[in-house]
Symmetry: C2
Amino acid sequence: MTAARRPTPTVPDTVTQAAHLGRARTAQTRVLLEDYVELIADLAGDAADAPPIGPSTLARHLGVSHATVIKCIGRLSREGLATTLPYRGVTLTQAGLALADRVRRRHRIVVALLRAVGVPEAEAAADAEGIEHHVSDKTLAAFERFLRHTPVG
Amino acid sequence: MTAARRPTPTVPDTVTQAAHLGRARTAQTRVLLEDYVELIADLAGDAADAPPIGPSTLARHLGVSHATVIKCIGRLSREGLATTLPYRGVTLTQAGLALADRVRRRHRIVVALLRAVGVPEAEAAADAEGIEHHVSDKTLAAFERFLRHTPVG
DNA sequence: CCGCATATGTAGCCATGGCTACAATTCGGT
DNA sequence: ACCGAATTGTAGCCATGGCTACATATGCGG
């Protein structure tokens, strides 16, 4: 039953495939959070002062309305990644900063890898925004290994 | 105002960044369609006969409930990618087949690239499922170029 | 110190993609 | 020919992330 037919090309076994697609789908729920902490960290700068960032600023950079941003900030703070006070912007928590560091590092590596295999700068920057969220730790490690052994290409 | 502060690291100009993130977000609406046509094409095989695939089969491979699949099939057919008759499964249209071909080709290339830069097989298979949807044509072309010049690594 | 522009927050709508529970249809086996 | 299991379809719920429209707070310039 399970493989009565062996279709044509690579149809992985059902369970594995379901797991992969499920993972990719689930990852989706984290994408938004990652984009936000990454952006907030970038905008706030690395200084210890880390000024709070307002919704309208985020909205401009994200290309969505400020109302949407405010809703999502709610989720950020529910998840313990940021703190916010009415009319006082948003600041990353320790957890948020930690996530931001991981995300920004991964982002840098993804862009570097794309560049290293010959992707033009503009496409590397654009595609990395989407790709980065789906790069697992092991894959990231492989990227780093590759980059170490491949001088700036 | 626009850049009064020059934060710390690479904050691209607002408009560009908004465009990139917006593109990644918009791409999301196509991810599901791509996954479906890819899976349907894989299951149906390349033969000209192309048997219709039932919702429960898709559901098993996707790891979601059959009810969810049925809803999404509605969208597939609204978008002209597949046709379906009650209790008779789903078949890709010409447009659906064309999309499936593009998607499957891109999938193969992404997996090959991951393998070529040293990503282990299991991670390549898993991560490709998420990454592939964010690889633009130009990036894909770069991947192919790289693979041509990099014998099976 | 007041008013107005700007930023922020709230309310309420929509589509999507999940789900469960229940109804209806097919179809193989007796 | 029919009965029951498995598949398919429907209804209705939820959370999310978009949006617009409207309400409220901040804070600067006069």
